[in-house]
Symmetry: C2
Subunit: 385 residues, 2 copies
Amino acid sequence: MRDVSIIGIGQTKVGEHWDVSLRHLALEAILGALQDAGVDQVDMLLAGNMLSGELSGQEHLGALIADFAGLRGVEAFKVEAACGSGAAAVRMGYIAVAGGMVDVALVVGVEKMTDRKGSTTTAALAMAADADYEAMHGLSFVSINALLMRRYMYEFNVSHDAFAPFTINAHRNAVNNPYAMFPFPVSREKFENAKMIADPINLLDSSPICDGAAAIVLCPTDMVKGLRPARPVRVLASAVATDTVALHDRRDLLTLEGAALSARRAYQQAEVRPADVDLFEVHDAFSIMSVLSLEACGFAERGQGVRLGLDGEIGINGKLPICTMGGLKARGHPVGATGVYQMVEAVQQLRGKAGANQVANARLAMTQNIGGSGATVITHLLEAI
Amino acid sequence: MRDVSIIGIGQTKVGEHWDVSLRHLALEAILGALQDAGVDQVDMLLAGNMLSGELSGQEHLGALIADFAGLRGVEAFKVEAACGSGAAAVRMGYIAVAGGMVDVALVVGVEKMTDRKGSTTTAALAMAADADYEAMHGLSFVSINALLMRRYMYEFNVSHDAFAPFTINAHRNAVNNPYAMFPFPVSREKFENAKMIADPINLLDSSPICDGAAAIVLCPTDMVKGLRPARPVRVLASAVATDTVALHDRRDLLTLEGAALSARRAYQQAEVRPADVDLFEVHDAFSIMSVLSLEACGFAERGQGVRLGLDGEIGINGKLPICTMGGLKARGHPVGATGVYQMVEAVQQLRGKAGANQVANARLAMTQNIGGSGATVITHLLEAI
């Protein structure tokens, strides 16, 4: 197996891009990544996307985007794992490069969610859950997470406002991210008074419906010198685990076994411990998901994840900075693109190019992209070279 | 890179399975493949599927099927490339095993198309085409192929009945395939009088809307002895190429450049020529697609593909047997499963287990799965061990 590095990154601003098509969004991120990497040809294109069929009437994104990006002929596929589609595509690109099947892989995550009515998009997102046993009973994806949050609050005697620091942190960090959808701060008061969406999840517990695209270029680390990209970053670990899609099949609702297994595999590959991680791009689709992910990955004991927020450890200068560019909550969560945005932001940090949000001496970054409520979990560990 | 073999195959009968869910279809094929391979654990599951979101309200098939098949925890994704999704998933599994990232990969192609109205499914299939520039003008996927067939007939002065041998051959072969949807013969007269669908494509030029699943198990060839499967088959080549999705962007409507490039790459990998191929599982979604594929892959000159049928060379005892178990036309075309069915059938031939349809002395089989009207083309060459 070959050592793999990320040699280029690109991203669009996350938002409601009503005047830009799906393929144009992907193109903008791709051109940025190719330019950053200093390459104009690749051996493979992988597109991470969940909802192009349901919301844009378009499947077959691999060939479509390859052609539109001037890469006609290149091997290209779409990879899907619900909200984990972006990192799933990264994982497939990593496998191809690490295994020696291709040299240069381009991965783009793209999602266009705002062209349709909110109810249509909400119904589409429920396809991340179990259609036959969850969605058919009327459960939306938000309400599934609400069940988890309610159970967590009950089981560990935690109040809703204990989750506030996660939202406040994400919005604070988004202020300095020009690509973020919500670059404004949120106060504790605003969090507590936000409109209820699915009790106990309110508007500010939730990541937004939005459009966006992000891209990275992967190549073997020993080819980096020949290609002369700006600042490569090594992929130290790439690991995936799955769990049941339906909540009712889980052994324990409040333990994300897929996240625990995925993180454990990543730590083993990289030979590191949680304490070695300098920053963590968490899958904060809902604030409860941040907490469960932090616990599963060994950053907090079961039922203690909220303490990381309450104790001020998740800020840029904290013990474990998370969502350093705004996270899913405030940068935005264009679902199939999110996993790639996380990698792009981790690279910015490891390059020392995160501006006002720079984590001091960042050497080891972790990203975790989650499909469904913990059913597909893709964890990457990245290291500054 | 490691040499890779197929050590297990499984499939469901293709048909209208109104009483069986998507996951149950996948399970049946998976259990067959695992039993055939003699393994009960795998390192990775890849699901090839195009339409589960649009027609079953279910994405996230990787984790869903993994759990349902008793493989909870395993790395799992869905891979999509329109009607080429099945072989795209095989390709991804091949990359993972050949590159040394996993040892045992399970690939399942599954599609459930008959639970919805025909018009809904027809609209969904148009997502294989360009949504913004083709489908939005009202072109269905059948009518796109009709444009190709009309142009071919005009350009090369070929009559419609010249295509009859492809349909007759597929149906003749399906008679002996217990998994085929249409196991009955079709006469030339029946072909010529079939109901028109999209002029000049009639009902018997077209593969059916149907349900089905097929699965294969891949592992490194040097592990085969330890696992003791029945009769392994080597993957001699695995190659992919793309072309424009929209017809109007092609340099030449009647040359499938993606198929030509994909086949050329496969021949180079395996160091063989078209004349070495003992049988070819062609992507006969429409009879025109068979002809264009045969020409692109070097089995006939441009404009001469129909001759292979007219001269009787495509039958089981012909120079180049194609669609030996019925092809997409008569075995059926559950789109995301088709590429895996092709591999399963090629393995049956190379094992000498194709019954009445056995191609004598079959040593080298070729499969080609096509997404869209030639936009994603995945070619595999398989060899008997």
